[in-house]
Symmetry: C2
DNA sequence: CAATTGGTTAGCCATGTAGCTAACTATAGA
DNA sequence: TCTATAGTTAGCTACATGGCTAACCAATTG
């Protein structure tokens, strides 16, 4: 039935469009009406409204209509959720780097220890 | 000619797909061959390779072929760039919240000061 | 009430994306 | 050298996306 996209799918795909990213950036600075948001863009209103709907269904933006004007504001949770994904990946990545560094260190120490025990082979200058 | 998408566009759009996000997560833990990466997925190889190419052109993944096996690894820069975007937006958002809070504080203080000057109006219990 | 403003719905079109199969190249191993 | 393995190319289909125009509410305003 309903396409069951994860929240992250929708958030990233929403942010993949420069128009929508610009809307989000604008809304970070405070809420605004659809017309105000649309103004800087050279685009027919219906096209623009589609972008807003994408942002809404992704959970990045909330809006409510009062009278004939709809006011949009950012919903920071979705944004934080996405930022969080990056932080988790970075944590894994950095842990790996640390392990790698530790591994290199261990190799180095072992080599040094081996060199200390029989100082002949590795440290020998050159000849047979 | 070439479609001139920004790096952010490509990175976010690459990460909008759960398969590609899984690949990135896998690569955070260390490099892997195309076959190893493809293994957990129930998908024809050519389809899978397309995902890898998307990740490569977005700059998230690097790969090189040696013999008949292509080894892929993460290129953290693109990932960091995207994470950075979130942090900048959050900074703007938080600055706004701070200003808003300061504004509320100012209102509160002014109200208190006014109340101190003529303690009649605001603090009066009820009647005319 | 009539006209304007702000937004919305419906529907069209071109392009992009995700998946597939079939057929191919090139290296590694027996 | 023959065969299996790892990946790649080509080409197809179905569906999603981003843009448009035209027509349509529904509040405000004159």
């Amino acid at each position: 039935m309903a396409n069951q996209l994860s929240q992250l799918d929708q958030v990233f795909s929403a942010l993949a469009d420069p128009t929508r990213r610009a809307i989000v950036m604008r809304l970070c600075a405070g809420e605004a009406s659809v017309g105000e948001l649309a103004d800087p863009f050279d685009m027919a209103l219906p096209s623009f409204i589609k972008h807003i709907r994408v942002l809404e269904t992704s959970g990045l933006v909330l809006s409510e209509k009062s009278g004939r004007v709809r006011t949009c504001r950012l919903s920071p949770d979705a944004l934080l959720g996405a930022e969080d994904w990056f932080q988790r990946q970075r944590a894994i990545w950095e842990a790996r780097l640390d392990r790698f560094e530790a591994y290199v260190m261990k190799l180095k120490k072992e080599k040094e220890r081996a060199a200390a025990k029989r100082p002949s082979r590795a440290t020998k200058k050159k000849g047979s």
